[in-house]
């Protein structure tokens, strides 16, 4: 109990009990997910770069989902739903 109290007193300068270490840890976890940064194989990537690439990556993922949605709606308009569904269910069960 008393150790918790002293810890919060130490970090009274920060608004909450979140350490820089925790943030760096989260940033590096995020870094691992971004293919741009992961494939570049450089260990020193600034947090700013990670955030930038994260935003770009999320935007590209959104674009891809939109693109696939459009294609799916076109495809489902022309194919008979029941036969398409039968094919899907068959492959999902395999």
């Amino acid at each position: 109990m008393s150790s918790r109290r002293s810890r919060s007193r130490q970090q009274s300068g920060v608004s909450s009990n979140i350490t820089d270490e925790q943030i760096t840890d989260l940033v590096s976890k995020l870094q691992q997910l971004i293919p741009e940064i992961r494939n570049r194989r450089s260990n020193k990537v600034s947090a700013s770069k990670v955030l930038q690439e994260t935003c770009n990556y999320i935007r590209s993922l959104h674009r891809e989902v939109d693109d696939l949605s459009d294609r799916l709606s076109d495809l489902l308009a022309t194919t008979d739903t029941d036969s398409a569904q039968a094919a899907i269910i068959r492959s999902l069960l395999m």
């Binding site: 989260l26 971004i34 935003c55 999320i58 935007r59 590209s60 989902v65 696939l68 495809l75 899907i88």
Partner: protein, 197 residues
């Protein structure tokens, strides 16, 4: 002996309550981001997505038999949010906004009143003050607008939500691409590689 058991129960309930309250940084182990990569998760998602798309087509008006890309996108996002099982902020935000839209739509149908479209982004008309905001903070702000429901969360929680959101989006893309491949019988060109290299 009985008293010691009740003590641990009390401590446990205190711990659980503490975890639920506020915007504290949650223990990262409680949210497992890797489940988005599992095949079974993707299979469950694909099945539910097909069901949701069927629902969309059933509910669409007779004149508009063709469901637009937007409808499919919304259905896909809804199913993704449900798959998150309410553990993340972004998923709860998606579900909440869908509920709001549905209620607004019902109001329009019954009352024929013009209800303002409920969207997450309300652009302020005031000109932005020329303030030198640190680049990192600016980027964090942009990121918070991209992840649903995360405009006002703390930086660490934003990073946590982003990690989960990206993994979920990758699964969504994989599932929808697989679905498209099934229907066209040919592989889909991927813009981004979302699998472990």
């Amino acid at each position: 002996m009985a008293s010691s058991i009740s003590e641990t129960n009390f401590e446990e309930s205190k711990r659980i309550k503490r975890r639920k309250t506020g915007d504290e940084l949650r223990d990262p182990d409680t949210i497992d981001h890797t489940r988005w990569r599992s095949e079974s998760e993707q299979r469950i998602y694909s099945t539910k997505l097909v069901e949701a798309i069927r629902q969309v087509r059933r509910n669409s008006s007779p004149e508009n038999k063709v469901s637009s890309g937007r409808d499919i996108r919304d259905a896909a996002d809804g199913v993704l949010a449900v798959a998150a099982k309410g553990r993340t902020r972004w998923s709860r935000a998606i579900l909440a906004s869908r509920l709001r839209l549905r209620l607004a739509h019902n109001n329009m149908k019954h009352k024929k009143a013009r209800v303002a479209k409920v969207t997450g982004s309300i652009r302020s008309k005031m000109p932005e003050k020329k303030r030198s905001i640190p680049a990192l903070q600016r980027k964090a702000k942009v990121l918070s607008r991209l992840v649903p429901g995360c405009r006002k969360v703390s930086f660490p929680n934003l990073l946590e939500e982003t990690t989960d959101y990206i993994s979920a989006l990758e699964m969504q893309v994989r599932a929808m691409a697989a679905l498209t491949e099934l229907l066209t019988g040919s592989p889909v060109d991927r813009l981004t590689s979302t699998s472990d290299s």
